[in-house]
Amino acid sequence: MLEKRILAAATIFALSIAGVIALSVRLFGIDLPTCLTDVRPFADAKVIEQGAKHYEVHYVAKMWKFEPADLNVVPGSTVDIYLSSADVTHGMQIVGTNVNLMAVPGAVNYARVKFDRAGEYLVVCNEYCGIQHHNMAGRIHVTDRSQLPPPVPAPPMPSSGKELLDKYGCTACHSLDGTPAPGPTFKGLYGSQRKLADGQSVTATDDYLKESIEKPDAKIVKGFDPVMPSMTIPPADLHAIIEYLETIK
């Protein structure tokens, strides 16, 4: 019966498309982003020059900008893009390339792109992220080194307390100068009296700070939400951070 032949033809059609897709992945390596579990979400953008024409960029999407907003690379560069969101869900498309990634809060996305052609590439947020969504964009400038500002050196291993606060993402939610932020400011924190949500009051000692880093929900400061994740920080770093906090008066 004709109907059955049509059914067979439709099935062969669908399977052959699946076959072509499988070939494109196998032969040309054109694949989708996958599940990364070994990279913790980060709050700070970074550009790391891994080699002559190899960059690793940690992009942070936030309302309503990309960080870094501008990226300079030389033609022929391979760029490993890690993407995280600091607030809501965003999208990131580098127009003219196959980079099209969702920035999902809580997870890290990844794509690799090679810029063969010199020029300016528009980076567009293509997922609705609030009332200024249409102004969220960045740029990648692919230009020869002679026209570039001096390259950003790879950051040295963090050692000072301040660098550690950046490394662990603390400064995304805690300011150093008293600016209001999602978490209490670090300015004048050490040794001060803390009013807690349950009405009690404690002194910010070394032990209190250690507990608040490792088990943030144990004592919540009045007026703040229990949204901080538990941090696992090596003892040496922890010590350096608390020492540094003591100096911010």
């Binding site: 990364l36 127009v95 997870a107 009332i131 969504h133 932020a181």
Partner: protein, 559 residues
């Protein structure tokens, strides 16, 4: 099946379920027109007529794609079940259903209209809406379930009284529709009830975004088959009759409905190709299943073309292509043909672009660009929308005993809409491939010469899209004139339920497609296969919750 007198209660319910969303649709269509004007920079503003851009976009999606479709599917379901089983309906279920759906719609509409739920119809957390929005959605969905639950005893009784007889194809189609809907809405109910409502009420402090997104798209793809299936019911059971012939193959219809029951849900991750937290293994499994779900649509395309050819040849059509001329494209009495035919034409392009989107790595070129709304306007605003507005007109006309008003005008509406959709989509397809983002008030940035983000090369595609949008809006204005004039004119006959019924040309007897049971089992197994591992991946990833949401200011500057 013949003209049927129906109970006044059921008649009232169906008419309300048609007219109430039609009034909302006036707003939904207007906000659609505003979209194209904003994007092209004709309106260069954050808001117009007191409706902020993203608030209007939320209304456009929620009214047109969720409220109008759900109400029509339920109304049409009531009509089909009553007409084909000839059994009195269980009115208690039907009344509770319509009350819940209406209360839910109003509950969600108020925060949307007042700007307390500008989260678009996909409501991705951590965008946060007023709790009334989420609660309204739950009531709308539960209300639609109750209508379905009320049909089950009626159908069982019909089965008992008609042993050995095939279930009427239309009834099979409506049950397939609501089985797909029931499967689809369970994960979204879990997302809304357990994640979003407690978070929106402030009971929980954060929300797991990767989990919420997977639950949403577990719902989001079968949702589109829920939209499409009532249109398929009209295609299989009405179109051949309208073309003057018979349904080429009864088997094709049953196969299509059953296959969609099994395969419409285990494919949701094809909406999440570009996301983190899901491995390429499971993305490719969902891609493969998505291609399999194209099979019944290809079979449908063949069967409907063959059915139309059969009709046209019976009416004297000859030649390899000459028979096309005998189809009733502009027949004022068989006006429904034009709406269904135009939808099928649009769906050719919607289907092809759907296969492109589903094609795994190809999606990275078009994901979240203007290409996507171009594609889904060729599906949900093509065959689905045309079938639904035609079905609405048919039901008010037959149930209220009113002849169609402005018949000469009415026959042109579907073709004008088709022209609009094709022009609109062409603009958006071109813009999408060039990188134009969807869901974006581009008039303030990318199409604004005064903005540093101005993209002059996107301008032409935008103007084409806008022209299409204006044609679509014009077609809908004409439709509203015909609809409300038909609704409000003097009675021309006694109202009753009458639907076109197609006889099968080949009435194959293939038991495998005549019972839901094996397909329900297949659906369950496929869901377990497709979703167990992705959910376990999410659990193992232990993703931290979203930061607090502040719609007005960037997080770092809030508080």
């Amino acid at each position: 099946m013949t003209r049927t007198e129906i109970e006044p209660g059921l008649r009232k319910i169906i008419l309300f379920e048609i007219v109430f969303p039609m009034l909302l649709l006036v707003l939904g269509i207007t906000t659609g027109l505003l979209q194209v004007l904003y994007r092209a920079g004709v309106i260069r503003s954050q808001s117009f007529l007191g409706i902020e851009y993203y608030r209007g976009l939320t209304l456009h999606g929620a009214i047109n794609a969720v409220v109008f479709t759900t109400f029509f599917a339920v109304a049409f379901g009531h009509a089909v079940i009553r007409f084909y089983t000839s059994k009195p309906p269980l009115l208690g279920w039907a009344w509770t259903s319509v009350v819940l759906m209406t209360v839910g719609t109003l509950s969600a509409a108020i925060p949307m209209l007042t700007g307390k739920a500008s989260v678009l119809y996909t409501f991705y957390p951590p965008l946060k809406a007023h709790p009334a929005f989420y609660i309204g959605l739950v009531l709308l969905v539960v209300g639609s379930w109750l209508a379905f639950f009320g049909w089950i005893p009626t159908y069982r009784q019909w089965l008992r009284e008609n042993p050995g007889k095939k279930t009427p194809l239309a009834v099979t189609g409506i049950f397939a529709t609501f089985i797909v809907w029931f499967i689809a809405t369970i994960p979204v109910a879990i997302e809304i009830i357990f994640l979003l409502i407690p978070w929106s009420l402030g009971i929980t402090k954060t929300v797991n975004v990767p989990l919420a997104r997977m639950l949403f798209w577990f719902f989001g793809h079968p949702l589109v088959y829920f939209w499409l299936l009532p249109a398929y019911v009209m295609y299989y059971t009405m179109l051949p009759k309208l073309a003057g012939g018979k349904l080429y193959s009864d088997f094709a219809g049953r196969f299509t409905f059953m296959w969609l029951v099994a395969f419409s849900a285990p494919i949701g991750i094809h909406h999440q190709y570009t996301e983190p937290a899901i491995s390429t293994t499971w993305k490719s499994v969902h891609a493969f299943f998505t291609l399999l779900v194209a099979i019944p649509s290809l079979v449908t395309a063949f069967t409907l073309a063959a059915s139309m050819e059969h009709g046209a040849r019976k009416e004297g059509g000859t030649g390899l292509f000459g028979w096309w001329k005998k189809l009733p494209f502009l027949d004022k009495e068989r006006w429904l043909f034009g709406y269904l035919f135009a939808g099928l034409f649009i769906f050719i392009f919607g289907g092809i672009t759907g296969i492109i989107n589903a094609s795994y790595n190809l999606d990275t070129v078009v994901h979240n660009t203007a290409w996507m709304p171009a594609h889904f306007h060729q599906t949900v605003a093509g065959p689905v929308f045309l079938a639904y507005i035609a079905g609405s007109l048919l039901l008010i006309s037959t149930l209220r005993g009113r002849e169609i008003a402005f018949k000469g005008l009415n026959v042109w509406i579907p073709y004008l809409w088709t022209l609009g959709i094709m022009v609109f989509s062409t603009g958006l397809f071109i813009g999408g491939v060039a990188g134009e983002p969807r869901r974006t008030n581009m008039g303030l940035s990318y199409t604004n010469p005064a903005s540093p983000l101005y993209q002059p090369t996107w301008k032409i595609a935008k103007l084409v899209g806008t022209l299409g949008g204006i044609i679509m809006f014009t077609a809908m204005l004409l439709y509203f004139v015909v609809f409300f004039a038909t609704l409000l004119r003097k009675k021309t006959s006694e109202g009753a339920l009458d639907l076109p019924v197609s006889e099968p040309l080949h009435d194959e007897n293939v038991p495998a497609v005549q019972s839901f049971r094996p397909w329900l089992v297949a659906a369950a197994l496929l869901l377990i296969l497709a979703y167990t591992a992705p959910f376990l991946e999410l659990a193992r990833g232990n993703y931290k919750g979203a930061p607090p949401y502040n719609p007005a200011n960037p997080v770092a500057e809030s508080r």
